[in-house]
């Protein structure tokens, strides 16, 4: 599964990405996970199966939903998991969004 995270400059989400990768490795799952700046979402269309937004950019959800449409499910990362850099919880959120793979 290809999981893309987006925030402002892709810096703070990249912290979460490395924790998610660790968690996926422990669980023996082969996910591709990366973070981008929110302006790059449109260019990445088709490259991701699920899109997670950092809670600090949740105000762009409506706009991003229009851009992405039916191509991938989108959600805002649950704030407390994001703050704790809880890779396992965010990974679970992504998997649930995809209907549990």
């Amino acid at each position: 599964m290809r999981i893309m995270l987006a925030c402002c400059a892709g810096m703070s989400t990249s912290l979460v990405v490395s924790k998610m990768e660790e968690s996926a490795k422990v669980q023996g799952k082969d996910h591709k996970i990366w973070a981008v700046d929110q302006t790059q979402i449109e260019e990445e269309l088709g490259n991701f199966d699920v899109l997670l937004l950092g809670p600090q950019v949740r105000h762009i959800l409506r706009k991003v939903t229009k851009i992405v449409g039916e191509k991938a499910p989108i959600a805002v990362i649950e704030a407390s998991a994001y703050g704790r850099c809880d890779g396992e919880a965010v990974l679970k959120q992504a998997e649930e969004l995809m209907g549990g793979i």
């Binding site: 105000h59 407390s80 703050g83």
Partner: protein, 432 residues
């Protein structure tokens, strides 16, 4: 939460969404995001210039020949900062064209051509005390002083051009066997002609009626007053606190205000570099470097100081745990772990310092600039450069001291609220 604060929260969220969804503001914001590396590279050329070519502060002190390559670094300054209006309006036009679903590159070129058509193509020169004119484009029209007029023209021209390209009647019909690329290029011909003719005539009429070029007029009427407000203590502190209100809701405040902030900080650093290159002194305090190094030092709301305050005063294990996680990101100015982990979002206990601290930091840094302790910077640093190193590159050792003062002061403004939180936790434990 009370009704009033709920209304306030919803109102701010609506503003943030509206800014994000407004295609003009969105295009301007994205264009500056794309262009930002060039501003930073341009400002670094100033740094290299003083480190390499200066006979007093650089390598040229020992290797005099290095002074000869000074024009190369000045050229990098010019190509990035003193020329920024052209690439920026090209990028804005491309972003808007994408939103309007019209060809992007051609729209970009149309906007640049339209802009060039309304600015002067003669410059005033003085030779042997005789005033005259010569062919050339004034620097003011190409550099940051052209940003606002450029943005206005970009918006108007893209809308006009988009409407024209969608009118079937002025399309040249081609047989279906003609490749699509060829028919596209023919079909843009008439809209380009109409667009350029209208803008050039409008610019000409404006000049004949007012005696001023439109770029000079917009600069003086709109951009210069905005710059004054933005650089004034009251203006910038109000903007900073407005931005922090968004952060209090857990929304990236810097991102929301960036459509208005980014053109003004770009103009400020360009003015500083131009002043120094001309042998003068930089005077514009509020730049991108100033924003990162002082206003949001260690994270918007000076959250790094909160981490210090928690390490020193907190008796809460949950807070100490989050502070440990948030410490390293905080050193690079990333505040999200503590903002969402503690959380600071919608947390009334920490609301006052979270909203006001960046304003206090701004006041401290502006004061240091005002009394002449800290110079205005000509070198901007990118986001993510660690604390203390960032201000050293941008503002020299004085910048490092100012940043340390900000951290110290804000650790004390956070402290009473950390103690309050200790008491709250104690009472909750009692009740449980």
């Amino acid at each position: 939460m009370s009704k009033i604060s709920k209304k306030f929260e919803d109102g701010l969220l609506v503003i943030a969404e509206k800014v994000e969804e407004n295609k003009y503001l969105g295009s301007i914001k994205n264009a500056f995001t794309i262009f930002m590396p060039f501003v930073i590279v341009g400002s670094f050329a100033t740094l290299f210039n003083s480190l390499i070519c200066s006979p007093t502060t650089g390598l040229a002190k020992w290797i005099p020949i290095l002074e000869k390559i000074k024009p190369a670094f000045v050229a990098v300054n010019f190509a990035t900062m003193s020329f920024m209006t052209v690439p920026v309006i090209f990028l804005i036009a491309m972003q808007l064209a994408k939103a309007n679903k019209v060809p992007e590159y051609i729209t970009g070129v149309v906007v640049v051509a339209s802009y060039i058509s309304v600015i002067p193509e003669v410059v005033t020169v003085i030779v042997d005390k005789q005033k005259g004119t010569a062919a050339g484009i004034p620097g003011a029209a190409l550099g940051a002083q052209g940003l606002f007029v450029g943005m206005i023209i970009a918006v108007l021209v893209v809308e006009l051009f988009s409407k024209l390209t969608k009118i079937e009647a002025i399309k040249i019909k081609m047989p279906p066997s003609v490749p699509k690329g060829i028919s596209t290029s023919f079909n843009t011909l008439i809209p380009i002609m109409i667009t350029l003719t209208i803008t050039a005539i409008a610019g000409n009429v404006f000049f004949n009626v007012t005696g001023m070029y439109v770029n000079d007029f917009i600069y003086q009427a709109i951009q210069a007053p905005l710059e004054v407000v933005f650089q004034s203590p009251a203006g910038i502190i109000a903007i900073v606190i407005f931005s922090q209100l968004f952060w209090f809701l857990g929304i990236h405040g810097g991102l929301v205000i960036s459509p208005i902030r980014n053109p003004l900080i770009a103009a400020a650093i360009a003015a500083n570099v131009a002043a120094v290159n001309a042998g003068g002194v930089a005077t514009q305090a509020v730049t991108y470097g100033f924003w990162l190094n002082f206003i949001v030092a260690g994270g918007a709301g000076i959250t790094l100081s909160l981490i210090f305050a928690i390490f020193i005063f907190s008796k809460r294990d949950d807070h100490k745990m989050i502070a440990k996680v948030a410490f390293l990101p905080g050193l690079c100015g990333i505040s999200e772990p503590i903002v969402f982990g503690l959380p600071l979002v919608l947390n009334p206990t920490f609301a006052i310092p979270f909203i006001l601290n960046s304003g206090i930091a701004t006041a401290i840094a502006l004061f240091a600039t005002k009394i002449g302790f800290m110079p205005c910077n000509t070198v901007d640093v990118p986001f993510g450069v660690p604390v203390l190193i960032g201000p050293f590159i941008g503002h020299g050792w004085q910048g490092v001291i100012v940043q340390i003062i900000i951290f110290a002061v804000c650790t004390f403004t956070w402290a009473p609220f950390v103690l309050m939180s200790n008491r709250q936790a104690k009472e909750e434990a009692k009740q449980a």
